[in-house]
Every structure is written in structure tokens, then in C-alpha cells.
């Protein structure tokens, strides 16, 4: 007889290695990082035990209790208690503990026992515990707790062998074990009593050498120094943005010349006509011009992944708490906002760890103002076309400096918006508490960094192949039809639909210095920001005819005034040009209103910023 699917759930305090364990068991690649609150969603995966039992395992957000104080903790509570609609309660709960830090997990485990679910305690990170000289009397612990205890090293090959073996043993006798659920929220005195009980058990079963992680202490002495820490943080961010500009260049040049050669090859081999134009102008000039930015995207993700894996993120949140508080932001908002530099979507998801509704909403509303990686192509294209690549003060690249300035502009405007929200909408606001565990530093793991980058690069390329590609087909079509009448002397594109649309919109955008080609690029650019770059590539390639084998950057430098270029940069600091971000805001706030508010406030800011930039630039003679 085929046994039914066995349902496991991974529960535990934040940062104890649940997702690492999930990945090790199922071969998945869910996000792992060294700070509390990485996982904010429920994720199911499957595996087969050595004895052939089919198992489903669910990874859950970390939590200190079943009270469910924030949206991510509610997910865990509802799943464990079987409140989630249409979900089966887990057959077996794996309570995952960081072996170097058992106090909080054992307390949680004593609370979990009241749910009556069969449970196992997994002593994860046992390698670190062993290295620190922590010894655990596993048998005695199992007896004291009245449930099986197993050690594991989620990040090492074969580190989950014992857990797999135990799962097989337990699954054979499970049905008999489930008890009635007697869980209810613990009162303060019950909480205190369970913590005492946990401390007693730990004192009996675990011997701790009085040797805290000396590396962590030494690094923190610098990184958490009141003044030095802030200097380090600024330096890290500065190097990050400089690097995105300077270090990626060789790889980008390589990709660029690859696409150029490919374009010339297509032009030389295919006969003149629509197919040649489609491949050369639509696909290669369009999609190719976006793919060129892959090295920069990889670099920014590399930086963020390294900071996350090392354990720096929680420190940065600590340093920034009071400073952000001045702008009405919560310290826990720092990590979501910093991840928004990569992409606002995971950033907005990560706000689930913020328990106060107002703090969370404010963070969601300003997350799209952080300069996400999709703006990099737009910024880079314009900067390299209009800003000379010289060094200032001998070592800082001027182009990198402008890029840094754009990031700073994004951050500053986010802080101002947040301040205004606090000032006008939430005046009776008392600051919600900030309490955050600062985990010990860990050496970033090559494998998890590689997986993180691979996932992101793949996502970017898939987007280039789908969203951007289909938008390009559309633009190419609009820019190519209808074809000019025979004997026309103007460029063919002047007769096209794209020109008609662009020229209809031009009066609206003329005050900010945008010509009709930009207007055409901005509309499909609503789908995703990079599309604008591709669209400009296609429009100008078609307009330029055969000679336009040159780079889009050089074309822009001849067609736009400096004022227009600067105005475009200002536009992109604010413009709400990302359909997926808006969709996530709608989902996470559960309201169309907040989505609309985000869209309009950003659009208004974009227009105002461009208007100002353009007119100031023209007045200074850059028109």
C-alpha cells in the first residue's frame, strides 16, 4: 500500500537555519541570509526519505512565539495551528534551533508542545557549536523535553543524514502520537515560567564555555562604533555605487562589441527588408541594449548578497535606527530599503517583518524611490553619453560620482516623503519599539552567493527575453508601420504610428524637454524601466536607417541637449515605471488606493523634478 504524503513543517526562531535546512532537504534555492526575518512567505517543497517515504516540507518565517505580532509571524502561527484556509496541519513539526543559542528556541518549543503536534527538535548549526566548544547531552535533552532530538548541519553535504533517518523512524509510528491542541496565547507569567523551565533544562543538558565569538566582538568594535560605524556604512555604500560604474565596464564593453558584431553580421547576410530591420533594429538594438547591463546588475546583487550573508544588515539597521527615526522611519525598515536597491519587489515583501502597520505602510510607499537595478541601464546610458569620464580629485570617476548623486537623490527624496507622511498623516504617532537580534558574523558561503547571483541573473535575462522582448516587438511594429509612401524624402519613421503617438504626447512633455522619441519610449517603459533604453535603441535605429549601426549612446549625444538628458535622469529618480512593483504594493497593502497613491505621487514628483531640472539647465545655457 502506498503511504500518504507525510507533511513536515519547519518552525523556529529567526535565523536558525530553517531555510538552509529546507534547501538541503528539497534541493530548492530559497533565499538564505544571515539576519533575522529573511523568509516572509510559506514555501512548500518535496523530497523522498532513504526508505522511500514521500514527504512534503513547508518552510516558514521565523518567530519567537505563536502570538503572531507581524504579518510574517502570523503566517507561521496560522500554519502551525492549522488556521490557514485549505491547509492540512503538519503531521510532524521540525523545531529548528541554532545550537549556539538555545534559550529562545527551547522556550518556543515548550510553547509549541501545547499544540499537541508531534515534534522533533533539530539542533542545527552544530558545526559552529562544536567549534565554540559547546557540548550538548542530546539523550538527556530528549528525555527532559519528551521528544526526539537530532543534530544537523544544514549547509554541509550529508549534514541532514540523521534527520532523514529519524524522519523514517518517526513516520512509521506517527498516527498514534497526535494529541489535542491546548494552545492559547501565553500570559506574561506563563511566558516567564516557560523561559525559566527552558533555562533549567539548558543548564542541565548543555555546557557552554565562557567564550563568546571573539571575531564578532572585534568586528563590532569597529562596525558598531557610534561614529566609526557610520563612516564604515557610508564607505560601503559609496564603494558599492562606484564599483557598479567602474568595475563592470570591461565586461559591458565585451557584451557591447558582441552585439555590434552580431548586428553587422545580420545586416551583411540578410537581404534588406522587414526581417533584417526586425532583427537588427528590434531585437539586437532593442533587447541587446538592455542585456549589456547584466554585469552591473550582477555586481550590485553581489554587494548586497555579501552584506546579507556576512551578517552586516542587522548592524546597519542598528546604526540607522535613530537617524531614520528623524524621518519617521523604523529601524527595521532599513533592510527592506537597502534590498530595494536591487529590486523594490523583494524589498516591499521584506516589510512584513515590521509589526507596526503605519511603519510598514510608510516603508512600502517609499521603497520604490530607492534606486533599483532596473534604473541602472537608463542612468548608465545617459551618463556615459553626456558626462565626461574624467577623474575628480585624482581618484574618483566623475561618471561614478554622478551615479552616486542619483542614488543620494533617491534616498533623500525617500526620507523627505517619509517625513511628510509622518507630519501630515500620522501626527499622533508614538514610535514603535525597535528590537532586533544581532547575529554572529558568518563567512559568506560561496555556494549561496553563487546561487543568489545565478537566480538574479536568470531573472534579468528571462525578463529581457519576455517582457522587454515583447515590448520591443510592439515598438518595432509601431515604428515601422505604416511604411512611407513611395518617393518620400523624410525618414521612414516620421510616417509611422509611433511618431503619431509620440507627437500627440509631445506637447505634454515639451515643458520638461522630452522630444517625441522619448514620449514613445516612456509608454512601454511603464511595464519595466529598462524598456525605455531598449525602446530608444529601436526608435533611433529605425530612424537612423542603415548608418545607425553606431551605439545608441552616441546617437543620444548628438540628438539630445544636455538639459534634456539631465531632465530624463531626474524623471527616472521618481517615475513609477514598473507594473510589477505596483502590483506588489496592491497585494501587500491589500488596497487599490495605496497603489494609486504611490503611482500618482511618484508621477507628480517625476514631472516636477524634470520640469525644474530642465528649466534650470536651460537657464544655465545647457539647452
Amino acid at each position: 500500500m502506498e503511504l500518504p504524503l507525510l507533511h513536515l513543517a519547519l518552525v523556529g526562531t529567526p535565523n536558525s537555519g530553517k531555510t538552509s535546512l529546507f534547501n538541503a532537504l528539497t534541493g530548492s534555492r530559497q533565499k538564505v541570509a544571515n539576519y533575522p526575518g529573511v523568509t516572509v512567505e510559506r514555501k512548500e517543497g518535496f523530497f523522498v526519505t532513504p526508505q522511500g517515504r514521500q514527504v512534503s516540507v513547508v518552510d516558514l518565517p521565523g518567530t519567537y512565539s505563536l502570538r503572531g505580532r507581524s504579518p510574517d509571524e502570523e503566517i507561521t502561527r496560522d500554519f502551525v495551528l492549522g488556521k490557514a484556509s485549505g491547509e492540512t496541519v503538519p503531521d510532524l513539526v521540525l523545531c529548528v534551533a541554532d545550537s549556539t543559542n538555545l534559550r529562545l528556541t527551547i522556550r518556543l518549543l515548550l510553547e509549541l508542545k501545547r499544540t499537541g503536534r508531534p515534534m522533533v527538535l533539530v539542533l542545527n548549526m552544530f558545526d559552529i557549536a562544536a567549534r565554540r566548544g559547546i557540548t550538548v547531552d542530546v539523550e538527556r535533552l530528549a528525555k527532559e523535553l519528551g521528544l526526539p532530538v537530532v543534530t544537523s548541519i544544514a549547509v554541509r553535504k550529508g549534514g541532514t543524514a540523521d534527520l532523514l533517518k529519524l524522519t523514517d523512524e518517526i513516520s512509521a509510528r506517527l498516527a498514534a502520537e497526535a494529541e489535542a491542541n491546548s494552545w492559547r496565547a501565553l500570559s506574561v507569567s506563563e511566558l516567564r515560567a516557560t523561559q525559566r523551565e527552558a533555562d533549567r533544562i539548558i543548564a542541565d543538558c548543555v555546557s557552554l564555555p565562557a567564550r563568546p565569538d571573539t571575531w564578532t566582538a572585534r568586528i563590532d568594535a569597529v562596525v558598531l562604533h557610534p561614529v566609526g560605524g557610520l563612516i564604515v556604512l557610508t564607505l560601503i555604500l559609496f564603494v558599492m555605487f562606484q564599483a557598479v560604474f567602474a568595475w563592470a565596464q570591461p565586461a559591458m564593453d565585451l557584451l557591447k562589441s558582441g552585439f555590434d558584431a552580431f548586428g553587422e553580421f545580420v545586416q551583411a547576410t540578410l537581404p534588406d527588408g522587414l526581417l533584417q530591420s526586425f532583427l537588427q533594429n528590434g531585437v539586437i538594438s532593442g533587447v541587446g541594449s538592455v542585456i549589456v547591463f547584466l554585469p552591473q546588475i550582477i555586481l550590485i546583487f553581489l554587494f548586497i548578497l555579501l552584506l546579507e550573508d556576512f551578517g552586516y544588515m542587522a548592524r546597519a539597521a542598528f546604526l540607522m535606527d535613530r537617524i531614520m527615526g528623524g524621518a519617521g522611519l523604523h529601524g527595521r525598515a532599513f533592510i527592506p530599503l537597502l534590498s530595494s536597491f536591487a529590486c523594490a519587489i523583494p524589498g516591499i515583501m521584506a516589510t512584513r517583518v515590521i509589526d507596526n502597520k503605519r511603519d510598514r505602510l510608510t516603508t512600502i510607499l517609499i521603497a520604490p524611490l530607492m534606486t533599483c537595478s532596473a534604473r541602472i541601464p537608463v542612468y548608465t546610458l545617459i551618463i556615459s553619453a553626456f558626462i565626461p569620464a574624467r577623474d575628480v580629485w585624482g581618484f574618483i570617476n566623475l561618471q561614478g560620482l554622478v551615479m552616486f548623486g542619483l542614488y543620494v537623490a533617491g534616498i533623500t527624496s525617500a526620507l523627505v516623503v517619509s517625513f511628510l507622511i509622518k507630519f501630515f498623516m500620522l501626527r499622533d504617532y508614538a514610535p514603535a519599539p525597535f528590537m532586533l537580534e544581532l547575529p554572529d558574523y558568518k563567512m559568506p558561503r560561496l555556494k549561496s552567493i553563487a546561487i543568489g547571483i545565478y537566480t538574479r541573473a536568470k531573472m534579468f535575462l528571462v525578463r529581457a527575453g519576455t517582457t522587454i522582448f515583447s515590448m520591443m516587438v510592439l515598438i518595432w511594429f509601431l515604428a515601422s508601420f505604416p511604411q512611407p509612401p513611395a518617393g518620400a524624402t523624410e525618414p521612414a519613421i516620421d510616417f509611422s504610428l509611433a511618431a503619431m503617438i509620440g507627437k500627440a504626447l509631445e506637447p505634454l512633455l515639451a515643458p520638461v524637454g522630452f522630444n517625441w522619441q522619448i514620449a514613445v519610449a516612456l509608454i512601454p517603459g511603464m511595464a519595466a524601466r529598462e524598456v525605455a533604453v531598449a525602446a530608444l535603441g529601436t526608435v533611433y535605429a529605425i530612424e537612423g536607417g542603415k548608418e545607425a549601426a553606431e551605439q545608441i549612446g552616441q546617437v543620444l549625444a548628438t540628438k539630445w541637449s544636455l538639459a534634456t538628458a539631465l531632465s530624463m535622469l531626474a524623471w527616472y529618480i521618481f517615475a513609477p515605471q514598473c507594473a510589477s512593483t505596483l502590483a506588489v504594493i496592491r497585494r501587500e497593502t491589500g488596497s487599490w488606493t495605496w497603489m494609486a497613491v504611490t503611482f500618482f505621487y511618484m508621477l507628480v514628483l517625476a514631472y516636477a523634478a524634470s520640469l525644474l531640472t530642465y528649466n534650470v539647465a536651460v537657464a544655465l545655457g545647457a539647452g
Partner: protein, 91 residues
């Protein structure tokens, strides 16, 4: 672990300087003036390991108003604001 330490006066952890070490005597959420209700604040503190008898050490403090503070509680480090730390009475 001892709960009593007669040689030192009791004080809220929220007033402690960097380098301070002591033992938690009791929690008193009412004195903290936190935005949370007394019960909620006390529950959260206990859930992070701030219970009577735990050893605490103030490891780091922030720049603005020397706030928040990073506190070693037995084997982990927790960042809290001084406002909430006022509820933790140490000696």
C-alpha cells in the same frame, strides 16, 4: 544564577552606559513609556530572553542620544531602544 545582588543599587537598563554589566532583577513595563501596552512590552522582552536572573552587558550604543543600545543577554546580542530598556531593572 542569582536574582539578588545586594551590593549594587537597582536601576533601569535604559540608563546604563556602554560597558555596564549586571543581572536582571525584574521587569517593570509601566515605567518605560513605550508605545506598546505593558503586557505586550513585557511579553516581547521575555521572548527575547530578558528574564529575571539573565546576565546583561551593554556592548554598543548608537550615535544620536546614544540610542539604541546593543545588549548581550546571556548568549545572544539584542538591539533595543533605551525607551524600552527602561522596563528592564538591573543591578
Amino acid at each position: 544564577m542569582t536574582n539578588t545582588n545586594d551590593t549594587r543599587p537597582h536601576m533601569p537598563l535604559g540608563l546604563a552606559q556602554r560597558g555596564y554589566t549586571g543581572v536582571i532583577q525584574h521587569l517593570s513595563a509601566r515605567e518605560a513609556g513605550s508605545a506598546l501596552s505593558d503586557i505586550e512590552l513585557e511579553s516581547r522582552l521575555i521572548e527575547l530572553g530578558f528574564v529575571e536572573g539573565a546576565r546583561v552587558e551593554v556592548l554598543h550604543e548608537g550615535l544620536v542620544g546614544r540610542d539604541p543600545i546593543a545588549v548581550r543577554v546571556d548568549s545572544i546580542t539584542i538591539a533595543v531602544r533605551r525607551r524600552e530598556a527602561m522596563a528592564i531593572i538591573v543591578a
